[in-house]
């Protein structure tokens, strides 16, 4: 499994295989030392090993992902002179995911939540190819028992796995790619040349596009892992049905939000201190969460909006507001923040809002089909038992050969309905 995963990673750029191997080795050694020192009763030494490993992971992330961003900002701060040399390094795919998994491993060891993993098991955990490049961020506590006990080859949940892979491909290839190529990319590349309604549809379109894209990838990853006998945690649970930002983050990229909660928000003090401290912790956590997605001010603002909204939600007294109004406000705050997430720069984001605020004219870009698709996707979020679940149930009850042939037929349909040339997954860049 390790060999296959490294081959998979090396296919993109073989040089970065060494980076992954370094992350595996350094964190495993640190983890072993943490366990050893805890066993010997030396909590301080164990803590030092944990800190060393975390600093090592952050340095890795910092050099490849953030160095140039801070170097440029510092340089501009001091009058635009390039005093600090720029590295202009290629960002290794998946680095944000595997470094976060590695950090959770050493922290959980220090917290005595888990026991140290054998070297090979740890290598499988950190490099496991279905989730290596774009998550979900799986905790060692979730994966270690599954790796140690080894999956049962007599019971592969093939119906569920085929269904997840097909569903993920459909979301990515058909829905996400279609929305991107027919509305969203046009709107965000030149908002001022479209009507305010078209731009608004483009913003809603991006909300659905990124959901279809990322949850589609997650479905595929979970499905492939299931075929190999591993069960990943749920990463999305109908996030656009949320009635508050707090609920949204319990439904969107759940493995990242729970990571940020357990390893950042709570260590910062969580909601244990004064109200002001809680607001500060929320803001800091979400801003750093934004920065995790990318080293631009747009992501910082995206995180700030979410942090601020979460803090304001806590400030407001519990009102008996109608659920529809709560949903409307939550969804639009999320969409408002998505504009910064998607736009190439701050000025582009402002252009989008300016275009929405301009005098309305006719819909040109958005077809009736596009609006119906968006409405349908949004409404589907409110049905816990969707048609997709029915398909899963049906597929799971079929004979194994029928499942395989249905899978093949599904692939044909997805290829048929998908546009020519499918863009890479959005979350590959993070």
């Amino acid at each position: 499994m390790v060999g296959a995963s490294l081959f998979f990673y090396g296919w993109w750029n073989w040089r970065f295989v060494f980076l992954l191997l370094w992350a595996i080795t350094s964190n495993w050694v640190a983890g072993s030392q943490i366990a050893k020192q805890l066993h010997a009763g030396s909590n301080q030494l164990a803590r030092n090993w944990m800190r060393t490993a975390i600093v090592g992971d952050l340095v890795l992330l910092g050099v490849f992902k953030y160095y140039d961003f801070f170097a440029v900002e510092l340089s501009n701060l001091f009058g635009g002179k390039t005093a600090i040399p720029l590295l202009e390094l290629t960002l290794p795919v998946g680095i944000s995911f595997f470094t976060f998994q590695a950090m959770s491993y050493v922290i959980d060891l220090h917290r005595r939540v888990i026991k140290p993993m054998p070297m090979l098991d740890f290598a499988v955990y950190l490099s496991f190819f279905p989730q290596l490049v774009a998550g979900p961020i799986v905790r060692a506590a979730e994966m270690a028992p599954q790796i140690r006990n080894q999956p049962d080859p007599r019971r592969v949940a093939s119906g569920e796995a085929f269904h997840l892979i097909l569903r993920g491909l459909f979301k990515k290839v058909v829905i996400s790619s279609w929305l991107a190529s027919s509305i969203v990319d046009d709107v965000f590349s030149n908002p001022e040349s479209h009507s305010s309604q078209d731009v608004l549809v483009g913003v809603y379109g991006y909300a659905i596009q990124i959901y279809a894209d990322f949850s589609g990838y997650t479905d595929i990853a979970i499905g492939v892992a299931l075929l190999l006998g591993f069960r990943f945690p749920t990463n999305f649970d109908r996030p656009y049905s949320a009635l508050s930002l707090r609920e949204f983050w319990k439904r969107w990229h759940i493995t990242l939000s729970s990571w940020l909660r357990d390893y950042l928000y709570i260590p910062l003090g969580g909601n244990r201190g004064r109200q002001a401290d809680t607001y500060r912790n929320l803001l800091l956590t979400m801003i750093l969460g934004g920065l995790w997605h990318g080293s631009t001010w747009n992501f910082v603002i995206w995180g700030f909006i979410h942090g601020l909204a979460l803090a304001v939600e806590r400030m407001l007294p519990n009102q008996q507001t109608h659920p529809v109004i709560r949903w409307f406000i939550t969804f639009h705050i999320v969409c408002f923040a998505w504009v910064f997430f998607r736009a190439d720069s701050l000025s582009s984001a402002i252009d989008v809002f300016r275009a929405i605020g301009s005098s309305p004219s006719s819909l040109e870009l958005s077809s009736a089909f596009a609006i119906l698709l968006l409405a349908g996707m949004l409404m589907a979020q409110f049905f816990p038992h969707s048609k997709s679940e029915d398909v899963k149930q049906w597929l799971s009850k079929q004979r194994v050969l029928t499942q395989g042939l249905a899978f093949g037929f599904g692939l044909v349909l997805i290829d048929l309905f998908g546009p020519e040339g499918v863009a890479p997954f959005i979350y590959f860049q993070f």
Binding site: G80, L86, E88, D344, G404, L405, G408, F417
Partner: protein, 357 residues
């Protein structure tokens, strides 16, 4: 975790699953079905790959599969599906346009080519009055029209350019990028045919072209022969294609045609190949008074003349002008280039004041 899984499996006996071997075989059966039904598409995709060992291997694999699948009538669901979705119409349209272009002209015969296409396609004789030289006749109803055509590079500045250009109500601009396209592989996307169609249908006043990013590859000639890239024969054939596109674009007197050269690239090998292509574009543009070649190498390099991702903007602040891929332009880079292109168009004295209103 495992306990939970077991419990879940017990609660849902239908989900207990099957032995891995059977699942593997059923998955393979599904993939075979998908491959057979899609074999025509897969073969077409393989044929569009750049000439390489990988292409030869892919074609060698998909050809017999497609033949067997076609013989067994397994490809009909895909064919019917494509037909219902109108996918085959695009191919028919492009091949018709290609036929209309006819034989490739020698340099200097551009007028013949364009006129014949125009006459064939629309049946109407276009207004032969030189648009740019006829004075400031532009109005919102009769705007100065600009088309930006090219590969994925255009995708990263085309819409920015359109927005900048359309700040004047007297200008109508259109950006039309086609990803992964170029002049090397008309079997993937036939730019001469497309340019011909644009000229015929829209008679633009200015055309901006940018190709090359996907063109440093072997070329297949009309008689099916592969020419290895950057050999003398390859260069001769590629020059012909550049010439054809330039001639189609210039067409009528007075039309502004800007050919945008490739900027410096981060990868040394890729950069070297783009330099060679730029030499060809510059040389062919130099032979045509109606075509202006724009060199981007000086615009996107640092003080040492090397590729730079970050460059100081007009206020001296470092700004990212390239994307992380080391190839495409960032939004800022796109704005720089768009401003440069607009300045070039404004150099025509007849267009004075077009953007001032």
């Amino acid at each position: 975790m495992e306990d939970k899984t077991d419990t879940e499996l017990q609660m849902h006996p239908d989900r207990v699953g099957f032995p891995a071997g059977k699942v593997f075989l059923s998955g393979v059966a599904g993939l075979i079905l998908a491959v057979a039904v899609n074999s025509s598409t897969l073969l077409a995709d393989a044929e569009r790959l750049p000439d390489s060992r990988s292409r030869s291997l892919s074609v060698a694999i998909w050809t017999p599969i497609e033949e067997v699948a076609s013989t067994l009538k397994l490809t009909w669901p895909r064919t019917v599906g494509d037909s219902l979705l109108g996918r085959d119409e695009d191919e028919v349209r492009i091949s018709l346009q290609r036929e209309q272009i006819g034989a490739k002209p020698e340099s200097g015969e551009e007028e013949w080519v364009v006129l014949s296409v125009e006459e064939e396609a629309s049946g109407d004789q276009l207004d032969q009055t030189p648009s740019v030289t006829s004075g400031p006749v532009w109005s919102p109803e009769n705007p100065f029209t600009i088309w930006v055509l090219g590969d994925s590079m255009v995708q990263f500045f085309g819409e920015t350019f359109v927005a900048m250009a359309e700040r004047s109500a007297l200008v109508a601009a259109t950006s039309e990028p086609k990803l992964a396209s170029g002049l090397s592989r008309p079997d993937y996307f036939d730019w001469p045919a497309r340019i011909s169609a644009v000229i015929t249908a829209h008679d633009p006043d200015a055309v901006i072209l940018m190709f090359g990013g996907n063109d440093a590859q072997n070329i297949k000639t009309d008689d099916g022969q592969w020419l290895e890239r950057f050999t003398a024969q390859w260069e001769e054939e590629y020059r012909k294609r550049i010439a054809l596109v330039m001639d189609l674009a210039t067409g009528k007197e007075g039309r502004i045609v800007l050919w945008v050269g490739q900027p410096p690239m981060r990868g040394d090998g890729f950069d070297s190949r783009m330099r060679q292509l730029n030499d060809l574009y510059r040389s062919e543009a130099g032979r045509r008074p109606g075509v202006k070649y724009l060199d981007l190498r000086s615009l996107f390099t640092d003080e040492s003349g090397n590729y730079a991702r970050y460059l100081p903007n007009s206020s001296g602040k470092l700004t990212d002008v390239r994307l992380t891929d080391g190839v495409h332009l960032s939004q800022w880079g796109g704005e720089w280039l768009s401003a440069l292109l607009l300045d070039e168009i404004k150099k025509s004295p007849e267009l004075d004041g077009l953007w001032a209103e």
